[in-house]
Symmetry: C2
Amino acid sequence: MRCTAGVHRILLREVVIDAPSSTFAATRDFWAAALGAEAESVAEFPEFTTLRKAAALSWVGLQEVRNADARYHLDIETDDVKAEVARLTVLGAVKVADGRSWVVMQDPSGHLFDVVPHESPWFAERSIEVS
Amino acid sequence: MRCTAGVHRILLREVVIDAPSSTFAATRDFWAAALGAEAESVAEFPEFTTLRKAAALSWVGLQEVRNADARYHLDIETDDVKAEVARLTVLGAVKVADGRSWVVMQDPSGHLFDVVPHESPWFAERSIEVS
């Protein structure tokens, strides 16, 4: 079986720190101080917080996940979400849910990650072509 | 209370995909293919695998964690592990265990991360000074 959705580009750009509401503020403040960053709510998606200017090789964000357990997830950005979900499914991932502009998936061990539309300034330079 | 261990430098350099033995090989092969990378065992620490040339802004590794649950953890590299552990403790983290050259900690929500000696080629350029 091959992915037939054509050539597209992908880049693992971000780690997201998912924290329940009860400890979200403490966790946000901890990571902002730990990484010398400014915590900034994402206007479009208020459950998300960006850590600007973090001392980190990748983007780092936080997500308030209400009563869910604390966990991390990863964001793979792409110029073709549908094709990337199809490719990763062939490789062994499973789709868990549709987000607003993204798709939530799990790897063969159950690690959560999202396939998201590209928006990082490094996408053109650092992404790779896949098919 | 202030950290009195002096000035040192830190950088969040890596995400590590921790997978139990039962699904480790499938998870390693999935991420290597997903990110266009070469999976390479770390000679010094055989439970670790590096994903070389991954399409990722940060380093990406895997760790075989035997019967433990699948999870991610983060690695913060530093030129002074002891001072960084002290600083992060003041900020609200808790030490969980001593590794060989690293220290395992948890943030206020329980997310695992390690404080590790610096070795990435970007440490001098991308790390920040903390105290």
